[in-house]
């Protein structure tokens, strides 16, 4: 087991390194020169060279990449002499736009993205699984057909269309919710809840519809299994038969999918955060892309890749705990 975990973690590091190199290469080769952008309209070649030197852009590609990677692991120093700035590990550099430490920017914004992701996940898990279960148990009923019809519809709404519609109806027309803003919970719990409600609903809708369909299919599949007949032949109560024998096999695969979806969301709900103006990782990504703020783009891409890959490993480990058949010895 320990060897398996170690192997998976090593794989994670290698993959992350690859993503790092790949991303760096693409931005290094493709992006317009950031020094020119920072310098602005009144620019002299000397000034450009100076900026390039201070950003380390005059060094060869591999040196830059090496600096970046070592900065991630052990931190790095920028500038020299009295202007020396120490950037502690994990160092992701400084924003070209705001000169802020990118690591600090992420730390500041992660709670917003996490709040959005956790709230939405709670909503979609409860709604999706409950609706799917009910549909499976009452297969072919009026409820089943309605719920599955709605699930197809809900999964087809692009989330920005849903976001704008909700905002128009709830904020502009009915005025029952304020315009979302990232208020900390400690400041005003009610406003906090009201602010995050729409982002949660928007994100949860698509996933809830997907999970309802998945749950329904899995439960129907499980109910037809031979071991369900055995459970009934043993004289167990229907409640115990359902709870113990049907739910665990039916819901275990959903854990995998949930882990992946949730991990991807932690890396920022780009569209939802942008539409609602919530200052999380997703909005930071969109802003940095609009301004070609390379260190931030790099960092956001790496962070999202890290979450996805780490989620993958966590899910696999969790799965070996949940399904005895894949347990490694």
């Amino acid at each position: 087991m320990a060897r398996y975990v170690a192997g998976r973690l090593a794989g994670l590091v290698v993959l992350l390194l690859l993503v790092c190199v790949f991303t760096y290469l693409i931005f290094f080769k493709l992006s317009p020169d950031p020094a020119l952008m920072i310098c602005g309209k009144t620019c002299t070649p000397d000034r450009v060279a100076q900026i390039r030197a201070s950003l380390g852009l005059d060094k060869p590609f591999l040196t830059q990449l090496g600096d970046y990677l070592s900065g991630l692991v052990v931190g790095r120093d920028y500038g020299s002499g009295p202007n020396l700035v120490r950037c502690p590990a994990p160092c992701l550099g400084y924003s070209f736009q705001s000169s802020q430490s990118v690591t600090q920017m992420i730390v500041d914004r992660l709670p917003v993205s996490a709040t959005v992701a956790v709230g939405a996940a709670v909503l979609w898990l409860i709604i999706g699984i409950a609706a799917g279960l009910l549909s499976a148990v009452k297969e072919g009923s009026w409820w089943d057909r309605t719920a599955m019809g709605l699930a197809l519809g809900g999964a087809s709404i692009p989330n920005y269309v849903l976001a704008l519609t909700l905002q128009y109806v709830l904020v502009v027309k009915l005025q029952i919710l304020p315009f979302p803003s990232a208020v900390p919970f400690s400041e005003d719990p009610l406003l906090w809840f009201q602010s995050y409600l729409m982002p949660w609903l928007v994100l949860a809708t698509g996933y809830a519809c997907l999970y309802a369909r998945l749950t329904r299919a899995n439960v129907i599949d499980t109910l037809a299994q031979n071991f369900m007949r055995t459970a009934r032949s043993k004289g167990l109560s229907p409640a115990l038969t359902m709870r113990r024998h049907a739910l665990r096999p039916a819901l275990t695969p959903i854990v995998t999918i949930f882990g992946m979806d949730f991990a991807a969301l932690l890396g920022g709900a780009l569209i939802t955060e942008t539409v609602f103006g919530l200052n999380g990782i997703g909005k930071m990504a969109a802003d940095s892309i609009a301004k070609n703020d390379q260190p931030v783009i790099m960092a956001v891409t790496l962070l999202a890749a890290f979450f996805v890959m780490a989620g993958n490993v966590v899910v696999d480990l969790l799965y070996t705990g949940l399904d005895p058949r894949v347990r490694v010895s």
């Binding site: 007949r229 032949s233 004289g235 167990l236 113990r244």
Partner: protein, 266 residues
């Protein structure tokens, strides 16, 4: 002989898109205590539906007519709540494929234990002791440790032993075995048949043995019911049926099997 199970004119009807279809038609047979009765037929002959009807486990939508009496008490028409007390306690069942019939997510110990605790008031500790005893009885080595194993960690024959241990844990009067050896190797098949026969001698359980394999039946059954397309084509003393089949279908079944030695009978 006082009969344990009496089935009279049992008819099972399924609704289909082309109207109701009788999958079992007017079937009658009886099982005595400590007796094994074989039900033989090809797949689709209604033999499995007959045994599921006795357990009250027919798929939803199926309707039944006739009478099924266990120990003199009528089972047909009982609400599911009452049938639950019959299942496992008075009559239990083992199935063809022990791997898919056991839940892969739980240890075999727990799966036996939950059945015992569904019918007997007792602590988990007492139940565990019963589980170990039941596993010992069916010849699982190291039963204390093996109770904590998952179904996929056993071999095919051992899994069927586990199923048997589970079926007999509440000492039911009737055991229905639906093709219990079909999915197994021939040698393992003989071992399981031997185990069933031995346990029956010890406990005096009445047994319904459902199979398509006449050779297996001839070695363990005293009475035989031959079914074809839901209908009972022959019923009577096993030796008589095999020696002098009165129906062409039975003769055909008999001719289609190679004889195997009777050394299986213990």
């Amino acid at each position: 002989m006082s009969e344990l199970l009496v089935v009279e004119d049992l008819t099972v009807t399924f609704p289909t898109s082309r109207g109701p279809v009788d999958v079992v038609k007017d079937v009658s047979f009886a099982v005595g205590r400590n007796e094994t009765v074989g039900i033989v037929g090809e797949s689709g002959s209604g033999k499995s539906m007959t045994s599921l009807a006795v357990m009250g486990l027919l798929p939803p939508g199926a309707t039944t007519r006739g009478s099924i009496r266990l120990d003199g008490a009528e089972l047909l028409g009982r609400p599911d709540r009452e049938m639950r007390r019959v299942r496992g306690e008075q009559a239990s069942m083992i199935f063809q494929d022990p791997l898919s019939s056991l839940n892969p997510y739980y240890t075999v110990g727990l799966q036996i234990e939950e059945m015992y605790r569904a019918h007997r008031r007792c602590s988990r500790k007492e139940a565990r002791a019963v589980v170990v005893e039941a596993l010992t009885q069916v010849g699982i080595p190291e039963p204390e440790r093996r109770a904590g194993y998952y179904p996929h960690q056993f071999s095919g024959g051992q899994r069927q032993r586990v199923m048997i241990a589970m079926a007999l844990v509440c000492s039911p009067a009737l055991l229905i075995a639906d093709e219990p050896t079909t999915a197994l190797d021939v040698t393992v098949q003989a071992q399981i048949l031997g185990l069933l026969a031995g346990l029956q001698r010890e406990t005096g359980t009445g047994m319904v043995f459902v199979t398509h394999d006449l050779a297996v039946i001839s070695s363990i059954a005293t009475r035989v019911l031959v079914m074809c397309r839901g209908e009972q084509v022959e019923y009577g003393d096993a030796e008589q049926v095999f020696a002098a089949p009165r129906h062409d279908y039975t003769r055909m079944l008999l001719e289609s099997i190679p004889r195997i030695d009777d050394e299986v009978v213990l």
